[in-house]
């Protein structure tokens, strides 16, 4: 703020022959409450007074403004309206500024020897801008009030989504299980080859829909020797676990394999 008018305001205060205590100060008591609500606070009231009397905001005649402000506040207090503390605080601030301006000023103004009104002016200007900004924002079209977003019905085919898993999930779960088993000494762990187990399932599945299956037929479509061995081991394992019966009705005759109790299962 290097505005020269701010450096020496004392002359100005007296220099401006301002309005006498405003006539418009009188407000019918019943309107006072509404009047009070009209203002958003002391800054708002001050801005109103500055406007009303065409005061220069950059060179506020403090005596005048303070007198008017106090008059309003006193009127409101006299009618015992609940007055926000901020209004009284502002009264104190105005009087403080006014009294500081009455003090003699040093001949050579120091750097920090600012106009006592500067802070108030800054606040008034900022508040005024915010007021205008609020009006501007308020004037903007608002969704739901001034326009509607397009929003049509989505014709959902609701389909229940099933959980998905991946092999790694399964493996991790298996590992965790094994780890748990390892910690539990009461269980005996036997790791077995997957392939033999797979062969066991295949054989059982193969047997399930049929009755007696010739032993050789079980392996007839296996060309891989490892697979053959695994399948044979699987068959033995199935027998050991009492899952299949292996019978040979005649000596050196055909060996038949059949799943146990398939009939009961059906």
């Amino acid at each position: 703020m290097d505005n020269p008018t701010l450096i020496d305001p004392v002359a100005k205060v007296q220099g401006v022959p301002l309005l006498e205590v405003p006539q418009d100060l009188y407000i019918p008591p019943e309107a006072l409450q509404i009047f009070l609500e009209t203002f958003e606070g002391p800054l708002d009231l001050l801005l109103y007074l500055i406007r009303k009397h065409n005061l220069d905001i950059l060179d506020i005649p403090m005596a005048e403004l303070t007198r008017q402000y106090i008059a309003y506040v006193e009127t409101m207090r006299a009618d015992q309206f609940e007055l926000a503390a901020e209004y009284l605080l502002m009264t104190a601030l105005l009087i403080d500024i006014k009294s500081r301006m009455l003090l003699p000023r040093p001949v050579t103004p120091r750097e920090d020897d600012a106009d006592p009104r500067a802070e108030l002016v800054r606040r008034l200007l900022e508040y005024e801008r915010i007021k205008q900004a609020a009006i501007h924002i308020h004037s903007l079209p608002v969704a739901g009030r001034d326009f509607m977003p397009a929003c049509i019905w989505v014709d959902f085919v609701t389909e229940k989504q099933l959980p998905g898993i991946n092999p790694q999930d399964l493996y991790d779960t298996w590992l965790a299980l094994l780890e748990r088993l390892r910690l539990n000494r009461n269980h005996t762990i036997r790791y077995e080859t997957i392939s033999v187990r797979v062969c066991m399932s295949e054989i059982l599945r193969n047997l399930q829909s049929r009755g007696n299956v010739p032993f050789t037929e079980l392996f007839s479509d296996i060309t891989n020797v490892h697979k053959l061995v695994a399948s044979f081991l699987a068959l033995l394992e199935l027998a050991r676990e009492a899952l299949v019966d292996i019978v040979q009705p005649d000596r050196f005759g055909m060996i038949y394999v059949h799943a146990i109790h398939t009939d009961q299962a059906d």
């Binding site: 049509i152 493996y171 539990n184 080859t193 033999v196 490892h226 146990i260």
Partner: protein
């Protein structure tokens, strides 16, 4: 204020141009997900429209949108625009549903059946150390991932469970051997005695099933 006066102009007009009717109906129907009844739509024109004009306009609108991804339909509550079913795949991409997950119990049961099949419920319970609820088995069965492939010839004749072809398909596997193998488990730091048992078993795997891991499709 000035906007207001512009906005109210159409009100004063007593008759609406046909294309204006269509334009208004379109705008209102596109911004309202709920169906609008004929009486709702009449309100738009403050009654200055007859039923026939309204229906004609709706027909025009319906035809206008015929080839798009949305259509104008009449449902119980009235008229509304809605997306065509074939657009759902795109809408789903926008808001992907968070896929549900199986509980640990289900996953463990499935893992046991996958790695140790064929197994009975008792086997599963022994490994898991807790009872296996019927619900878990049903969940996996109804998913088509496990099936009974027989019964064990012991008292109670328990069913034997195995994983299905469908399970492999869903997991994008060609065979069970493509499941991460237990080999990598061996690298875990196991206590001596068990490490041994694993080793011997690994030998079995290597002997009998070794080709499986290298030539997974060969066995099926």
């Amino acid at each position: 204020m000035s906007t207001q006066s512009i906005l109210t102009k159409p009100t004063e007009a007593t008759a609406f141009q046909p294309d204006q009717v269509v334009r208004i109906l379109e705008t209102v129907l596109l911004t309202t997900p709920e169906p609008l009844s004929i009486s709702d739509l009449k309100k738009l024109f403050e009654g200055n429209i007859d039923k026939k004009t309204l229906h004609e306009s709706l027909t025009i609108l319906s035809e206008k949108w015929h080839d798009s991804g949305i259509n104008l339909v009449s449902v119980a509550g009235g008229w509304r625009f809605q997306s065509k079913p074939e657009m759902q795949v795109f809408l789903d991409r926008l808001n992907p549903q968070r896929p549900p997950r199986y509980s640990r119990a289900v996953m463990e049961t499935l893992a046991i059946i996958a790695y140790r099949q064929p197994v009975t419920r008792g086997d599963i319970e022994e490994i898991r150390g807790v009872a296996v609820s019927t619900q878990i088995i049903k969940t996996l069965e109804s998913r088509g991932w496990i099936e009974t492939i027989g019964q064990r010839d012991i008292p109670g004749k328990p069913y034997l469970y195995a994983t299905t072809r469908h399970f492999l398909d869903d997991l994008n596997l060609q065979s069970l051997e493509q499941l991460p193998s237990l080999d990598s488990f061996n690298s875990l730091d196991l206590s001596a005695d068990e490490a041994e048992s694993v080793d011997t078993d690994t030998t079995t795997i290597q002997e009998s099933g070794e080709p499986a891991s290298h030539e997974p499709t060969q066995l099926l």
